[in-house]
């Protein structure tokens, strides 16, 4: 996994609540057997109409907006456990997703793929969405080590929570398999006692 330190970028405001993983990556695109290329179909049915024509009204298709940070509404990533959702968002080029609330499985999947879910207060989320919508060139800085997210145009900042173990993993580019593989003796001992 790539190391994650600081992301400073413009952002894309997607002010919809309860965005489920079927919207992020529809099931018909889950037939692949590798992890690459899902970004082409991220938010597929919002980005394109049924004939494949660009839906110009959708924020990801609006040239005004770009960046490595996606700002979204409450309860982002609810629904299916498909990790393809995190792969698709990452593959499209996002490094951070900001919301006031994330669904559990999505959050875990994102962290396991070096995509940082940043949970902010509803008030700060509203401020970020408004600022970015009105001034698309506004930059946001996410500092993982300091656990802060800052709207650079105003200097307004908020700190965010992250599990200290996961933070260490992201900062160093470790993943859970590396850790678990080193625990084999303990696991075998547990099996002897319990299974």
């Amino acid at each position: 996994m790539e190391k994650f330190t600081i992301v400073q970028s413009k952002a894309i405001p997607l002010a919809i609540e309860n965005i489920d993983t079927d919207q992020i990556i529809p099931a018909r695109f889950l037939k692949a057997t590798d992890r690459q290329g899902f970004g082409n179909n991220v938010f597929r049915d919002w980005r394109f109409d049924k004939e494949g024509a660009l839906n110009v009204g959708f924020v990801l298709n609006d040239d005004k907006y770009s960046g490595e940070i996606l700002i979204t509404g409450h309860n982002f990533g609810c629904g299916s456990s498909r990790e393809h959702a995190a792969w698709a968002i990452g593959d499209y080029g996002f490094k951070v997703v900001v919301s006031s609330f994330f669904a559990d499985i999505f959050k875990g999947n994102a962290l396991n793929n070096g995509l940082l879910p940043v949970e902010v207060s509803p008030a700060f989320l509203k401020q970020l969405l408004t600022s970015v919508t009105n001034a698309p060139d506004s930059e946001i800085r996410v500092n993982l080590a300091a656990q802060t997210i800052t709207l650079l145009s105003t200097g307004t900042s908020e700190s965010f929570e992250i599990n200290s173990y996961k933070k260490t993993c992201l900062l160093h580019g470790y993943d859970d398999i590396d850790y678990l593989l080193n625990q084999e003796e303990k696991i075998e001992e547990f099996e002897k006692q319990n299974c």
Partner: protein, 460 residues
């Protein structure tokens, strides 16, 4: 302070705790399917590590399989490739696979319980959010992402923070025609799709105590739809009777020994939950959803609520409904009875009982998709097949089918479908399809009438 059912099962599976970090949780059973496993197998290969405990993994093909002509080669190249990959991966790693055509094949959350693989007190995971289903047995069961599938392959363990606990109690007598699905949809409509996030739910009270295992599975299945990782119900005689004698259940003396262990799993009377909710069973009525998440549900006799909020309005616009209107009388052309939520024998009995001697409406396409080969066999054995065929329903072969429309079973654009599945997200059943979630009884009644009816009027 006493322990909850969840605490007891969780604590027994903790291998170690990382100071200030997650715990290492041992996983007893790992269920896999064709869609979320290939990348995990690739990960093992890439790192040159072998599967740690292949005998604790069980595989099926369900998400991406056709529900007609399963004996023929699959037409769609990508689907065929994904299934071939599963077969190859299972063979290379000595994993038991109940593939397409096998007598044990079916939806993973239907076959594991019916084979006796799912048992009380276990930890069980699968790369599928509806793994919560297995909590009906008093096991800790939850959906995981593909990176975690690879972790369990590599170590039979996961690194997890212990979730918080929630108890949802429903007491009283359910009204006639109110099914477990209605109880689930009612609770989600009351609490919202994010209420359970970060929590494991225990469903308690006499409504769940009096439910069959099939009903309990429906309820626990839907706990993910309120954001919870899983739901659980304390094991009791209903559970033991269901498990006893199944293929992988403990036999004879060892079964009795297990029952004695399982008896101790119940939540202690002095245990404290982080959150508690209580509902009155007599307030629950047959439910239906009107929006694009499972929390947007109403009693069929009620009208769509009036909310001024962009996301709510976007949802109604997609569904083609107006604030404040009733769904009764709306024409519907598709009915789907199936999915890991409602595709067990009991669900088909309920539907057949209503349908018997009636004819589906001319405008209706009614798809019945059993959860497994065994359920399909049982439908025949009990004479339900002829009831459905005579009524003009289409009985298909087992699989996930139109619940997520990965295969050919797609609801056409713009069409409404009354569905016994678990998610009414935009496009879930096919691009532009509009899903209304309901119980098998409401689905069957819709198929007969060709429109949504207030079933409560027939029941009272």
């Amino acid at each position: 302070m006493g322990k909850t059912l969840f605490d007891k099962v969780w604590d027994k599976h903790v291998v170690d705790s990382i100071p200030g970090g997650p715990q290492i949780l041992y996983i007893d059973k790992h269920l896999i399917h064709e869609v979320t496993s290939p990348q995990a197998f690739n990960e093992l290969k890439k790192r040159n590590i072998s599967l740690f405990r292949p005998e604790q993994v069980v595989a099926t093909a369900d998400h991406n399989t056709p529900t007609v002509n399963q004996h023929l080669p699959i037409k769609d190249v990508l689907s065929r490739n994904q299934l071939a990959q599963l077969t190859k991966n299972c063979a290379e790693n000595n994993i038991e696979l109940y593939g397409l055509g096998h007598e044990n094949n079916g939806i993973i959350h239907v076959i594991a319980p019916e084979l006796g693989i799912t048992q009380p007190g276990m930890t069980l995971v699968c790369g599928d959010s509806h793994t919560s289903t297995h909590g009906a047995f008093g096991s800790i069961a939850f959906g995981i992402g593909t990176s975690q599938v690879a972790q369990v392959f590599a170590s039979q363990c996961l690194l997890l923070d212990k979730p918080r606990s929630m108890r949802i109690s429903v007491n009283g007598k359910l009204k006639n025609g109110v099914l477990p699905k209605d109880v689930a949809l009612y609770v989600i409509a009351k609490l919202g799709t994010d209420a359970g996030t970060g929590h494991f739910i225990e469903f308690a009270g006499d409504v769940f105590e009096n439910m069959t295992m099939e009903g309990r599975m429906t309820v626990c299945n839907m706990s993910i739809e309120m954001g919870a990782r899983g739901g659980m119900i304390a094991p009791d005689n209903t559970t033991y009777t269901y498990v006893k004698g199944r293929d992988f259940a403990p036999k004879e003396a060892s079964f009795d020994k297990k029952v004695a262990e399982w008896e101790r799993l119940k939540t202690d009377v002095d245990a404290v939950f982080d959150r508690e909710y209580t509902f009155d069973a007599t307030d629950i009525e047959p439910m239906i959803t009107y929006g694009t998440n499972p929390g947007m549900g109403i009693k069929i006799s009620e009208s769509i609520p009036t909310e001024n909020n962009t996301s709510f309005e976007k949802s109604l616009a997609y569904m083609g409904f107006k604030k404040g209107e009733s769904l009764v009388g709306k024409e519907v052309n598709y009915v789907f009875i199936g999915s890991c939520t409602n595709s067990r024998i009991e669900d088909f009995r309920v539907a057949a009982n209503y349908v018997k001697g009636k004819q589906k409406a001319a405008n209706i396409n009614a798809w019945l998709v059993p959860g497994s080969q065994r359920v399909a066999k049982q439908i025949k054995a009990e004479g339900l097949e002829s009831i459905f065929i005579e009524a003009g329903f289409e009985l298909r072969q087992p699989g996930c089918s139109a619940c997520l429309a990965m295969n050919e079973d797609k609801i056409p654009e713009g069409e409404y479908c009354v569905s016994t599945s678990n998610r009414n997200f935009e496009g879930r059943q096919g691009q532009g399809a509009k899903t209304l979630l309901a119980s098998p009884l409401v689905a069957a009644a819709t198929a007969i009438e060709g429109k949504i009816i207030d079933i409560t009027k027939q029941l009272n």
